[in-house]
């Protein structure tokens, strides 16, 4: 059993609850124990960093310190949380004076200082290694029955590679390995690591909807039955905003979008009610039919 401090991020806890629920159900099947972090804040999503950079750093180090106190690494299910936490971690691990000044602020408000000893990983990284895939294999997956899946990485789990470092951002293969291991077929396309536009979707909707067009249209043209993403923000841009993107770009995509744990859940036979596909805006019927055979 591997224990992690579970950091689902705000979106998975609120508007994309289906992601959190599926992850929690899946974890014990993969020998993972998820420990809650009740005092953890939002990572700031890049927004707080863009308004108050020092505050961003301090808040994220506070989260890292909470996991350190629990004696475990952090597991995330969101690209943006992963980048924000890892970036803060790298900043203070590489600069003892910076860590000291952040710790001074933390101690002043009664928070625990950080020792710089923990790591932050994403569920995709954990599960797509050889050991991770062996955990899946142990479950005897019923498989995806040849479902054609378009891997969609988005940006912030890959770049900047100096912070993320799990795989080559120009040739990512973790989702491909997972799709193949689960009995699916990879629908490959160029825009799998281009931006979904979500960070600016509320402030600059027209620009953002042009950005999601690349991945939506290319995955459709690659003959994908669905897209899978490791990030709930990408999911919102690709799923919830898909009809808007269709209207803005004058094209139909009809592309069901799965959260990463949902794809695993389908292959392992997790009850569809738990995965709560009704919360998606684009129906996933054709995905369920293909997997059912």
């Amino acid at each position: 059993m591997r224990r992690f401090a579970y950091y689902p991020g705000c979106i998975a806890e609120f508007s994309s609850k289906e992601l959190d629920a599926t992850t929690k159900h899946l974890a014990p099947m993969l020998d993972i124990e998820l420990l809650p972090m009740p005092a953890a804040t939002c990572c700031g999503a890049g927004d707080i960093a863009e308004a108050k950079p020092n505050l961003y750093l301090t808040l994220n180090v506070r989260i890292l310190s909470q996991a350190e106190e629990m004696g475990v690494d952090i597991l995330t299910i969101c690209n943006v949380c992963t980048l924000n936490l890892r970036r803060a971690n790298k900043m203070v691990k590489e600069d003892a004076r910076l860590l000291e000044s952040v710790n001074e602020e933390l101690v002043k408000v009664g928070a625990r200082p950080y020792g710089g000893t923990i790591d932050v990983t994403h569920l995709l990284w954990y599960i797509s290694t050889e050991e991770g895939l062996a955990l899946l294999e142990k479950q005897g997956p019923k498989g995806l029955n040849g479902l054609r899946v378009a891997p969609y990485y988005g940006c912030q789990l890959l770049r900047p590679s100096s912070v993320m470092g799990f795989e080559d951002p120009d040739k990512p293969q973790s989702l491909e390995r997972l799709i193949t291991a689960l009995g699916g077929e990879v629908a490959d396309y160029e825009a799998k690591s281009s931006c979904c536009g979500f960070p600016i979707i509320l402030a600059r909707e027209a620009v953002a909807l042009k950005e999601s067009h690349s991945a939506l249209s290319q995955s459709r043209d690659a003959g994908a039955d669905c897209m899978v993403t490791p990030c709930p923000l990408c999911h919102l841009a690709m799923d919830a905003y898909q009809r808007k993107a269709e209207a803005a770009n004058g094209e139909k995509y009809d592309m069901p979008v799965l959260h990463l744990p949902q794809l695993i859940g389908l292959a392992l036979g997790i009850d569809n009610k738990i995965m709560d596909f009704k919360r998606h805006l684009v129906p996933v019927d054709r995905v369920l039919e293909t997997v059912a055979g």
Binding site: F14, T41, A51, Q156, P169, E211, A240
Partner: protein
């Protein structure tokens, strides 16, 4: 002796409008960059091949191109490294992205220079010049260290996802220069610069795809500069002046009131008019359970966070 096929983008508008690829084979040994290859092809096989270059030492920033789809400086990329990286015997060479081609690998850089000029990339001190030089501390200079290294090669611009969707976005390189001066203690235009950089197509248009940080051959990290310009805009009173800024402000409000993002605040706060006009979309989101409870979540030990928000000083 290594052998490589170079598959090079061709466009000769004085001959025809066709854009196509042409293959050339070269034998080479020892250190051999993509620029070396192009210059040898020019010399030995095809004098019509056009490329922009100057220093051959990764300083002038003229020879950025795409090697197998990835933007690099041609003079800084070893052919054998590229082949190994992409597991291929062929190196595909294209002009940089987000620009119109002028001839072969040469693109029309005018929009790039226009945007560069638009950020006023020079020091504008307040008051009369001092009798002697203006002294800047090591610490103050250190803050601009990365941005000062920009060679204007446009590798960041080439793969910027915001620019691909909005050609008017000012873009990463220009904003790196913007911060280089907005953050300079000798500059007297911090407030004016904050305004200049944050309008439509400004810093809040950055979609955070992180390609600029990934591709910069000099470690400038333009996205980080954009982030710092956002911070300066907040310090200079622009937190409510743009939907992008209000989006960030909503995160701060959520942080203070609950510790987690309150999406019910985020949407109307960012763009109140649009939020009210977009009722059909909102209803759809509600129907699918995507509208979270308006009662904010409250984390444990929120007081720590509230105190940090009061105490932590920004040092941009």
């Amino acid at each position: 002796m290594a052998k490589t096929t170079f598959d090079i983008f061709r466009y000769q508008p004085d001959v025809s409008d066709a854009q196509y690829r042409q293959s050339y084979d070269l034998e080479h040994e020892g250190d051999f960059t993509i620029l070396d290859a192009i210059l040898r092809l020019q010399d030995e096989q095809d004098g019509t091949l056009a490329v922009r270059y100057s220093c051959r030492s990764a300083i002038c920033g003229s020879c950025a191109c795409k090697a197998n789809g990835k933007t690099v400086l041609a003079c800084m990329s070893q052919v054998e490294d590229v082949k190994k990286e992409f597991d291929t015997e062929t190196v595909q060479v294209d002009p940089i992205g987000n620009f119109a081609p002028l001839k072969d690998l040469i693109v029309d850089l005018d929009p790039f220079w226009d945007k560069f000029k638009s950020v006023k990339p020079y020091l504008i001190p307040d008051g009369p010049a001092p009798e002697k030089e203006r002294i800047v501390s090591k610490e103050d200079m250190q803050k601009l260290f990365r941005e000062s290294a920009c060679i204007l090669c446009a590798a960041c611009y080439s793969e910027c996802n915001s620019l691909a969707a909005d050609p008017d976005f000012v873009g990463p390189a220009a904003f790196a220069w913007g911060y280089r001066f907005a953050g300079d203690v000798r500059d007297g235009q911090r407030k004016q610069r904050a305004k200049l950089y944050t309008g439509e197509h400004g810093v809040w248009d950055c979609t955070r795809c992180m390609y600029c940080n990934e591709r910069c051959p000099k470690g400038v990290n333009p996205r980080d500069a954009i982030e710092k310009l956002g911070g300066i805009a907040f310090q200079e009173g622009r937190a409510m002046k743009d939907a992008g800024a209000r989006h960030a402000k909503a995160f701060l409000i959520s942080m203070r009131t609950g510790g987690k993002l309150n999406e019910t605040v985020l949407v109307p706060f960012t763009d109140p008019i649009k939020a009210h006009l977009d009722v059909p979309f909102a209803l759809q989101m509600i129907r699918h359970g995507k509208a979270p409870s308006p009662i904010p979540h409250r984390i444990k030990k929120l007081k720590e966070v509230q105190k940090l928000m009061k105490n932590v000083k920004e040092t941009i």
